[in-house]
Assembly symmetry: C2
Homo-oligomer: 87 residues x 2
């Protein structure tokens, strides 16, 4: 399945959350990551994030696009994210 | 088409950007909005945002899912966003 993940977490935990997410997904830009991921790994990622975040302060959204990637992605302004994993 | 919009802009311009985006999309959570939008309105929104943001500091991503909505959206942690427009 294809996932777009957006996190909004306390500054103290940003580095940890980003590091964890990058083990599974490609970093697009600041708080956004995306990529193909298996159902098993998605479950794992969620469990691991739940251990890192504080549920009363932080928030992570998973958009599940199932089998299909989005049709297009357009950025206006700065490209802040990493391109290291983009094929 | 269905759009997921994620913005990352300087604090000074957040209120303006959010206000503008909410004229066209539903607010999901902090810097994330989503919704059905016509091609014409999407063009308008982009043009209007380009007038508000500073391209050397700010960044807005548009994920275009074309005709289909995502399969599921899951939030772990806090639901920070507005639910006012969710049907």
């Amino acid at each position: 399945m294809f996932i777009i993940l957006v996190y909004d977490v306390n500054q103290k935990r940003v580095a940890k959350v980003l590091k964890k997410c990058r083990q599974y997904l490609h970093w697009v830009q600041n708080s956004v990551l995306e990529g193909e991921i298996s159902e098993a790994n998605l479950k794992k990622l969620k469990m691991e994030l739940e251990r890192i975040i504080r549920k009363d302060e932080d928030s992570v959204i998973f958009y599940n696009l199932r089998t299909t990637k989005y049709s297009s992605r357009e950025i206006i302004g700065l490209e802040k994210g990493g391109q290291e994993n983009i094929i």
